[in-house]
């Protein structure tokens, strides 16, 4: 995570960016895995997770990386379905389905993996250039 108190390097910048994207991908994967899950109460339903990104500027070097400030639960309302035969149905015969939007999660996943890829590519180019500079005779 880049040693605290040390100036930000390109490597720690990229690493923190990659970790943030990984958190985002994991959140989207959790949401997709829980799509369609049913609970017996509104409070017990799975709520989609969403990480909150924030810029972390290193004033000494002028570089800016990204931190995951929090992973928030979405405020979307659980979907109520009347299904008295369901084993989890409550006193009214209702069950509650997780409010996961599969399309939105899919887009989130794609966007995140593209940005991850992009960062890896930028890092490998930068690394290559650094090595070339180091090997200079």
């Amino acid at each position: 995570m880049g040693a605290p108190g040390q100036p930000l390097t390109l490597f720690s910048l990229a690493q923190r960016g990659l970790s943030a994207q990984l958190v985002r991908m994991n959140a989207a994967a959790s949401n997709l895995a829980n799509a369609g899950t049913v609970a017996g109460s509104e409070a017990g339903t799975y709520k989609p997770l969403r990480p909150v990104f924030a810029t972390a500027l290193d004033a000494a070097t002028g570089l800016a990386t990204v931190d995951v400030r929090a992973v928030q639960q979405s405020s979307a309302k659980a979907i109520r379905t009347h299904d008295p035969d369901h084993p989890l149905a409550d006193a009214n015969g209702d069950v509650w389905t997780a409010p996961v939007d599969e399309n939105a999660e899919m887009v989130e996943m794609l966007d995140s993996s593209r940005q991850y890829q992009n960062l890896v590519e930028a890092l490998s180019t930068a690394k290559q250039l650094m090595l070339e500079t180091m090997r200079m005779k």
């Binding site: 960016g17 810029t55 990386t65 250039l129």
Partner: protein, 115 residues
Amino acid sequence: MNETLFGIHGTALALRSQRMGILASNIANAATPGYKARDIDFAAALKASTSGASADQAISGATRYRVPTMPAMDGNTVEMMTEQTAFAENAVGYSATLQFIKGRVETITRALKGD
């Protein structure tokens, strides 16, 4: 100018390296709401440092916010294609500068060895 050995190329390499960091910052913050993409106006920074400004002064004086083609709703102004092309352009520039420096070092080495 006190860096007479490498001339303009020493300064250019430092600026290129700094610009690479700024562009990598933009790429890392592609999904951060409200992040404003930055870039260094390379020509302006080089001009400033060849006319006597320090590297830090030249960079802070030539850092600009990117004007987005189409601003996003969340206030983020990072556009992948812009950042990727800028990064590639900068990497090529870095390589070229490095070649110039290598050539210079080779010349000096040959002169020192005398063969």
